[in-house]
Amino acid sequence: MRQKPTETPSETASRRKFLSLGAAVGGALTACAEPQEVVEEAPKRLGRAPDKYGERSPFERSSRLGSASKNPETGSTRSPLQDSHGIITPSSLHFERHHAGVPEIDPAKHRLMIHGMVERPLVLTVDEIKSLPSVSRVHFIECSGNSRSEWTDKKGRTAQHSHGLASCSEWTGVLLSVLLDEAGVNPEANWLIAEGADACKMHRSLPLDKCRDDVIVAYGQNGEAIRPEQGYPLRLVVPGFEGNINVKWLRRLMLSGQPAMGREETSKYSDLLADGKARQFSFTMEAKSVITRPSGGQELAREGFHEIAGLAWSGRGVIERVEVSTDDGNTWQDADLQEPRHRIAFTRFRLPWTWDGAETVILSRATDDTGYIQPTEQALIAARGHNSDYHNNCIKAWKIGADGNVTHV
């Protein structure tokens, strides 16, 4: 499968060099009826020495995609899901969404305060937090504004445009419940207000039940320290809840008898319905899937075998089933699910497929272990109208043209 629009000038140049070399060799051999692929001679050039921190191959160009903005510090970048393998998003390609830029924080000076309705207010260092019992868990994080374009007629051109505000990492940290027990939560408390150390001191209110369940105060991501743009040195990981509540650069946890009603849980991240009322505290990211290969912007170079692959996830639990249709939804087949399937994590699905060269539409539909089935766009719009902005998890369709070009529908 070829990726169409991403060839860079240097790649073009090296390809040209390659071709002219091929032409020279071809000329020397004369009687070649068909253009022949030139295979490199036996490798003999000494490679480079080992390095302290690894870089990917210079031939790999997959990158996050931002959008122009007058205030880029409130901007976002999207993960190139169409290029991803397996279920882990490299930390360097994890999507970003900030409200006041990425702060530079010295972990030796960073503190976490736990206070409000607690018996023993606490100030903790990062080292103290790292000394506590730890867990490592694979979880996706998805911005609730992911797939916002799917509410409109201007659908995302590529999986990165339409679904790239979701990523999946192995997170390491201490369960929030451990810290809450250290501070001793008063019985009247039922909300926890979490706040970051970014310039806007971004804060969100979480129901205490969730905090006691599976929330992590994380310092590790994919085997190393969390990246600065993901909240270094500490972030909340709130499995299955919308991205914004996974507060980065975490510096304060306040136990409260009421939610803060902050800007990010009233003005933003609330879902306007057709009747003008808005859903508030709509935390859960519901089951969703997208075919990443073949997907928009790619091209099937020839008829014949092509594996269909994609990602599915649910904020409510485990992905039980992903069905794929290669005939515009007329018939569906079960895709293979990569094991082990983690709870509230990306699940890779795969289906062997032979393309007959005819135009068609391919779709995927996820079901989670609560029995929830990923809905159609029409069903979402019928229930919520067109102004909801957030939480669009509808079935995504890709059209494959007779020329092999894959486009959004």
Binding site: R120, L124, E182, C200, K201, T266, R279, T284, G371
Partner: protein, 187 residues
């Protein structure tokens, strides 16, 4: 003899006693990490303002004083008339929420006046947060409320009056009713 039902009942009692025990145990510090914040530290860090006004400091201001703060500190990004520009509009949109082009602003959408104070204090001006005094904050919040037709130009905003301001869309928020499509169990 105990009936099966009363046995079950006793079982439950024992269980809940065990649970109670576990919670009390969990409430005493197990790892003894960290230290208590000093009173000054806790005060300095406690910037959250709740809808009932808890967390609001002393201070006061009216729209009359707030216009000056707005013009100097906010207008370049939010527009001279609060109409928006490089950033969001802070005015307008009342009556548009159920139309195909809803305009969500402080005036048309925000349910609590305290949130304007909290957010401006923690995050605005965008490039230099933290420069406003408490009086300037009350004043600029009063100015935004006045321009949206919610309070009078001379109404003083302070920690008593601000939580009492009735926002036009205060009743506009509902509980998350999902799953509303797709079947499956409720949260």
């Amino acid at each position: 003899m105990y009936s099966p039902r009363s046995l079950q009942c006793i079982g439950r009692l024992v269980l809940s006693a065990a649970c109670l025990c576990a919670t009390t145990l969990a409430q005493s510090p197990k790892y003894k990490v960290g230290r208590a914040p000093t009173a000054e530290e806790e005060k300095a860090w406690s910037i959250t303002v709740l809808p009932d006004g808890a967390g609001l400091p002393a201070g006061k201001g009216t729209a009359v004083e707030g216009k000056d703060v707005y013009d100097r500190r906010c207008a370049e990004c939010h527009g001279n008339e609060l109409q928006g520009g490089d950033s969001s509009a802070l005015i307008g949109g009342q009556g548009t929420l159920a139309t195909p082009k809803p305009l969500k602003t402080v005036g048309s959408y925000w349910p609590h006046a305290t949130t304007i104070w909290d957010y401006t204090n923690r995050a605005m001006p965008f490039d230099t947060p933290g420069v406003l005094t408490n009086d300037q904050l009350y004043a600029v919040v009063a100015f935004i409320l006045f321009k949206n037709g919610i309070i009078k130009e001379t109404d003083e905003m302070n920690r008593e009056t601000l939580p009492g301001v009735k926002m036009p869309n205060a009743g506009g928020f509902v509980k998350d009713g999902r799953p509303d499509v797709g079947g499956g169990a409720r949260d």
